[in-house]
Every structure is written in structure tokens, then in C-alpha cells.
């Protein structure tokens, strides 16, 4: 058997369309499921929220580090939206695995199950999340490359 250079492990399933208007940014990074959620009322404001690995502790604040008013002991609507869009992008097993949850993955199949195992409020904002969001937007502003890029042959497929 000669092994393959292709066939990456399933990174994220082809999902239902992500709602980038409501949740423009969601990622698994720095040991967290983290992202940015639009404010329902104010186009200038966004919320930054996360669930962290193992404990599944969480927090939500504005990008100016003001605590979210909707956080009262349990995840606010922003965190619920973040989780919903995270599931679309990575799938529940992907999230559980990345967050190193000790729970039996076969018992957690819905967003409600995930919310039940969420931890506590951390009261700690991470400025890095908003910076990473800006960083990803900056990538979209970079000019196209029109030069050959054979390295992408390792990532064949799509569209």
C-alpha cells in the first residue's frame, strides 16, 4: 500500500450556510471556541464571546470590554448564537474534541446538550479574540495572487 498525499482529515463538514451577518467570526483557537457576534440593535457594536477548553467556562463582552448585560449566570443569547454557528462550522464532535470535554460525546448531540454542560462565567475578556477577527478581515483585504501556487495541490477539491 502506497499512502495518499491527499484526503485530509475532515476539517469541517460542509455545513448549512453560516450566518455571517449575525456571527461574522467563529473559530477554534487558543484553546477556546471563540467568536464575534453582531449586536441586534447597534450596527457599530459587536460582542466578543467564548467557551474555554475543559471547564467550558464562558464569557461575553462588547469589543470595548464592557460586560454583556445578557449574562446572568448562564450563557447569553450571543453565546448561544456563537455555539450555533460553531456547530455549523465544526460540528458538535469537533467542538467537544477541541475543547477536550470529559463528557461522553455520544450523549451530547444537540445545542441544548452542549449548553447543559457549560461551566461558569469567567469575567475575563480576551482582547486577542477581537484582534483575530480583525486579522481575518485584513486577510480578505489582501490582494489576490495571480502567480502559480502549486502548494495548493495538497488541498484539491471544492466549488
Amino acid at each position: 500500500m502506497i499512502p495518499s498525499s491527499l484526503n485530509p482529515p475532515q476539517v469541517f463538514q460542509k455545513s448549512a450556510k453560516r450566518d455571517v451577518k449575525e456571527v461574522p467570526f467563529v473559530e477554534l483557537a487558543d484553546g477556546r471556541l471563540q467568536g464575534v457576534i453582531s449586536s441586534g440593535s447597534d450596527i457599530q457594536r459587536v460582542y466578543v464571546a467564548y467557551f474555554e477548553a475543559r471547564s467550558l467556562n464562558f464569557y461575553c463582552s462588547t469589543n470595548n470590554n464592557r460586560p454583556c448585560g445578557g449574562l446572568r449566570g448562564s450563557p447569553c443569547n450571543h453565546l448561544i448564537s456563537l455555539l450555533g454557528e460553531g456547530i455549523k462550522q465544526f460540528g458538535i464532535p469537533g467542538i467537544l474534541k477541541y475543547l477536550q470535554s470529559a463528557h461522553d460525546p455520544t450523549t451530547i448531540t444537540t445545542i441544548g446538550d452542549l449548553l447543559k454542560i457549560a461551566g461558569h462565567i469567567t469575567h475575563q475578556a480576551h482582547g486577542a479574540i477581537f484582534s483575530r477577527f480583525l486579522g481575518s478581515l485584513q486577510l480578505l483585504e489582501l490582494p489576490l495572487s495571480a502567480l502559480p501556487l502549486p502548494e495548493m495541490d495538497w488541498f484539491a477539491g471544492g466549488a
Binding site: I2, S4, S5, Q10, Y98, L139, P148, F155, G158
Partner: protein, 445 residues
């Protein structure tokens, strides 16, 4: 049929991969033997002395980025030899000429820029630890460096590989794709050793006959290659056009096209079957056009499969040569020989599908076409296709790019999604995110 040399070099590559899997702090007797074998293979070559001292250092637990750089070179050189052998064999079989054009030389970097040096150190850390024992903290530690590399267009090749690999590493799959990851590790390391300066270009005018798009993507980058025949002043030649754009994971499917506004004209050419008239486009020596939609207009009708068959059929009237890749870029995964198959027998079995023409049998790349415009049913009734012969996991296969059910009406991969050019979606992710970008990024500065 693969030659014995192929199997021998493959065995050595897989033995090297076992070192990367176990980690260089964990080498057992078999691993040590592999290092000695590797040094022997390079005996009598310019790498002899360097390989010998690297093998000794790595065996003794002396770890420096330069040693791992040379290990990557050694692994890659085995694949360069495989590429050469496979290309020669295939072209002989298809009766196609080979061009021995002078190759652009890639200058090794006199000194490694700090960012690329960080990459080398991180790749070294992964190898020392071993792919089987990677901790999330080690993977996360690279995130800020990756962001900086992505921000610098000069490092696109490095960034393309590492961003794609990071998405895989983060998920820590049960079944670690060792050969693939060792490839990605090797190519990432190689990409830090040289920088390809902008290659020399010449200006061309003539007619371009697009034949099909091949798409490549991971979560944060998407890229396509258009295969085409170019008739300029000289004889016809195979030409390719590539464009690549950063994206975010939420941009998928038809929205991907919206990242490439200049692809609209190429899409129109393909979907309407009208050739393109080029005026002073820039062309690289190896046949790659630097696409500039402003220097092209739609021209006369052409029959895609007829043009393709003339040059890439099994008994082509006017077979075209393909130029060689630079040696340091040759890897079997880059083999992409355009081909037209006609009047084939399509056979489906438990092991997959294949197309037979006379005595010749070609395995079909089912993954590439399932759910696409040119799935098995379409190919069955079309009886003619244009695609690429590619090589992976020890075998050749055909990856179809275009076909036609009604004469002159092309069907190609991307046809459905490309319809966004005609009618942009109201709430498209690209538009929303770009609008956010302009608001938030300006506000910040």
C-alpha cells in the same frame, strides 16, 4: 505499472515518516538505521558530507533547524525523482513530447528572515516531539506567527501550506494521515529555504481557448487553475492561469467565485463557448498567464472538446508538450497531464469506477465529481471528457474538468456556482464581511 525504483524510494520515504511520527527524542534502533540508510543513499552526491553529519547529529540528539531543513530536502529529492520517472513514463505512453526548457533557478536565501526562522523552529519542535505526541499548546503557540506570515504576500507559499495544515492539526484526528502530514511538513520546511523571485515574463497576444477549472481550497485560502490552449505567434501551447485569495471558513460554494471578480470573463468564455482574444498579457516561461481581464475580450465560438481533443486526445493530431516544473517543486502530486477520453466504456465496481478506451484503462476520480455538474451519469452519456491525469497513492487517475452533452454546449466543474456572477446573492458572506472589514479596520486606525 510502477517501476521497482518507485517502490524502493517510497519505502525509504515511509521510513523517514516513522521518525517524524515517533519524534526525534524517541528514536529506536530501526529509526537509527533509517538515518544511516538515508546518509548512504546520498553517498556520492553533493549532499554526501552534509547528510552524514545530519544523520549523526539527529541520532545523537543534537537538534538544529538546519539539520531538519536538510532532512526535508532529502525526503523531497526522493519525490522529485519519482516525479521525473512518472512523468517520463506517462508521456512515453501517451506519445507526447517533452520540453527541456531552461529552468529558472531559485536562489537559496543567504540568511533566513526572522519570520521564516520562526517557522523552521516550530517545524523542528513538531519533529522533535513527534506527530503522534503533539500537544494542543504546541500547535496553538504557532498561531500568532502564522497570522504574521499570512499578512505578508511574499510568504504566500509558506502560508498556504501552514494555514491548511493548522486546521488539520487543531482537530487532532484519530487516524493521523502520516504521509500527507509528512509531505506538508517537508514542503513547509522547503518553502523557508528559498524565495522565488518574480519570474521573468514576456508579453503575448493571441487567442486563448479555456478548457476547464480545477479548484483547490482549505478553510482560509481558495485557489483555482484554469487549463487552456494558447495560440499566440508561435505554435499552440498549453497555458494555465491561477488565482488565489484568502477567505474565511464561512465563505463557501458559489460565494467563492465572488472573491475573483476577474474570473468572470473566463467563466463567460467557458460557459458560452467563446474564445478569448488576448492583447499583451504577461506570460511566464513555463506557460502560466498572469490573468488580466482588462487585456482580454470575448472572441469567436469554439468547440471546447474539439480543441482539447486535437491537442490532448489519446491519438492527438497535434500533441502538446508540457513544460517542466523547477526541480525543487517536483512532487508526484503536481503531475497534471491534460487528457481527452472519447468513446470510453464506463465500468463501476465496488473498488471504484474506471474508463476504458481500447486496451487502456483509467481510474476515475469519483470524489472530485460526485455531486458536481459532470457526475458519473453525465459522463456515461457524454462519451467524451476533458480532464487531468493525476497521480496519488501509487496510481494514476482521471479528474474530469469538462464535458458536453449537446454539441458545443460545455458542462464543466464550477458551472452552477459561477452563476453568481450573473446574479449576486443579496446577503452574500463576501459582501458582508468586506463591508465589515472596511468599517472596522478604518475605525480602528
Amino acid at each position: 505499472m510502477l517501476a521497482a525504483e518507485f517502490h524502493a524510494s517510497n519505502q525509504l520515504i515511509q521510513a523517514i515518516d516513522q521518525l517524524l511520527l515517533a519524534g526525534f527524542t524517541n528514536l529506536n534502533h530501526t529509526h537509527q538505521t533509517t538515518l544511516q540508510r538515508l546518509a548512504q543513499v546520498y553517498r556520492g552526491t553533493p549532499l554526501e558530507a552534509a547528510m552524514l553529519s545530519v544523520a549523526t547529529d539527529l541520532s545523537n540528539g543534537v537538534f538544529q533547524p538546519a539539520s531538519f531543513g536538510l532532512l526535508a530536502v532529502a525526503r523531497a529529492a526522493l519525490q522529485t525523482a519519482q516525479y521525473d520517472q512518472l512523468a517520463l513514463q506517462l508521456r512515453a505512453q501517451l506519445g507526447r513530447p517533452t520540453i527541456d526548457q531552461p529552468l529558472p533557478t531559485t536562489a537559496a536565501l543567504a540568511s533566513t528572515p526572522p519570520l521564516l526562522s520562526s517557522v523552521q523552529h516550530w517545524l523542528m519542535d513538531l519533529a522533535v516531539m513527534g506527530f503522534a505526541r503533539l500537544e494542543p499548546a504546541m500547535i496553538n503557540a504557532f498561531t500568532p506567527t502564522l497570522a504574521q506570515i499570512q499578512a505578508n504576500p511574499e510568504y504566500l507559499r509558506t502560508a498556504a501550506l501552514l494555514a491548511g495544515w493548522m486546521h488539520e492539526l487543531v482537530l487532532q484526528p484519530e487516524q493521523l494521515p502520516l504521509f500527507r502530514w509528512a509531505d506538508l511538513w517537508t514542503r513547509a520546511m522547503l518553502s523557508t529555504l528559498s524565495i522565488s523571485a518574480t519570474p521573468p515574463m514576456q508579453s503575448v497576444s493571441g487567442t486563448l481557448y479555456p478548457l476547464g477549472f480545477e479548484w483547490r481550497q482549505h478553510a482560509t485560502l481558495v485557489s483555482w487553475v484554469l487549463y487552456a490552449v494558447l495560440e499566440a505567434e508561435a505554435a499552440p501551447q498549453l497555458a494555465t492561469i491561477t488565482q488565489s485569495a484568502y477567505k474565511v471558513a464561512a465563505i463557501q460554494d458559489d460565494q467563492l467565485w465572488l472573491l475573483f471578480p476577474e474570473a468572470n470573463l473566463l467563466f463567460e468564455s467557458l460557459s458560452t463557448g467563446k474564445a478569448l482574444v488576448l492583447t499583451n498579457q504577461q506570460l511566464l516561461a513555463a506557460g502560466q498567464l498572469i490573468w488580466d481581464a482588462a487585456a482580454a475580450t470575448l472572441g469567436d465560438k469554439y468547440d471546447l472538446l474539439a480543441v482539447a481533443e486535437r491537442h490532448f486526445g489519446l491519438n492527438a493530431k497535434q500533441p502538446l508538450a508540457q513544460t517542466q516544473l523547477a526541480p525543487e517543486q517536483r512532487h508526484p502530486i503536481h503531475l497534471a497531464e491534460p487528457i481527452v477520453l472519447s468513446n470510453y466504456q464506463l465500468a463501476q465496481s465496488g473498488e471504484g469506477s474506471s474508463l476504458s478506451v481500447g486496451e487502456q484503462r483509467f481510474k476515475l476520480d469519483l470524489a472530485a465529481i460526485s455531486g458536481s455538474e459532470i457526475d458519473v451519469d453525465v459522463l456515461e452519456s457524454a462519451q467524451r471528457l476533458f480532464g487531468l491525469l493525476r497521480f496519488d497513492a501509487g496510481e494514476w487517475f482521471v479528474r474530469p474538468l469538462a464535458t458536453s452533452l449537446k454539441k458545443g454546449k460545455p458542462l464543466f466543474i464550477g458551472l452552477e456556482n459561477g452563476k453568481v456572477f450573473k446574479k449576486a446573492p443579496k446577503n452574500n458572506a463576501v459582501g458582508i464581511l468586506k463591508e465589515r472589514a472596511s468599517r472596522l479596520l478604518r475605525e480602528k486606525s
